[in-house]
Symmetry: C2
Subunit: 154 residues, 2 copies
Amino acid sequence: MNATDIKERLSDKTRPVFAIGIAADLVGVSVHTLRMYETEGLIIPQRTKSKRRLYSQADIERLQCIRVMIEDRGFNLAGIKGMMSMAPCWEIKGCSESDRATCDAYKTSLEPCWLVKSKASACQDEVCSECAVYRDVTTCHNMKSYLQEHWKNA
Amino acid sequence: MNATDIKERLSDKTRPVFAIGIAADLVGVSVHTLRMYETEGLIIPQRTKSKRRLYSQADIERLQCIRVMIEDRGFNLAGIKGMMSMAPCWEIKGCSESDRATCDAYKTSLEPCWLVKSKASACQDEVCSECAVYRDVTTCHNMKSYLQEHWKNA
DNA sequence: GCAAAGCTATATTTTGAAATATAGATTTGA
DNA sequence: TCAAATCTATATTTCAAAATATAGCTTTGC
């Protein structure tokens, strides 16, 4: 591995590097709170072979967004989940008509697609935590602009 | 007024006919709760000359939607307000570029447009409670489909 | 080797949003 | 006329979401 590789790996925001204790410190919440957000489906940390959670810089930023929603805007976890479920995953993923027909996340789902059981073939082999729908739907960016971006070509 | 007129007036869902006590009974909440929803900006009942609230059938249905969000989906009032603020009012109202430039509700606002102070000229003379943005953005219909409808021509 | 940190699961506590209550004035409508 | 309903404003209570704590076990890393 050369210097460029090292720099790239260190700068990769999606690289899981923080144990839950460190992540909790960075976000300013308890480790239990981070586990709760995971249970609620707001965050999907990577896991080590022995099932320990590892958070990336992107995860930290996602969690900071969640905190902003809670502390500054007064949302509860259900509301944040509801906001996240507004992403038109079928547009982002380019689902075919038949994909849409068989997918619970198509239009009517009230949950984020990464929490939906019955998925379209387009998502079958996808790791949700690496999918653009999950990664890009954070709650603190300009959700309106984000949605418009993804919907105007629908 | 002929029979047709009477029928029309009775069937007009936007006609304010229910005093707050009746409305509270219909929705299954207390009168205080209805006043609170108004303070939070979730509902805009009409007023009589002496400032008494009057609710329409459409208002009742809007309130029932709010209850569904709270009881079935676990949202709090901040979350419902956040959902409502997702409507792209500038598309629905056909705001010009200059309208958008001067309006706080354009894209970045975290509040529903009817709670925003500095409005575009397109809304200056509008009564928000009669505006399509307010009327159509309820929280229990399929929000995804609704948003797609209004965004796909953007 | 072993203390520190993490794991799941469950139980308990806290806290603030939401509901309820109170007060004093006004309006409604039988 | 006057009791019932509504108004605004404020204070108090409730209760469940969110946070904290506990237990028993496993993994990590010094």
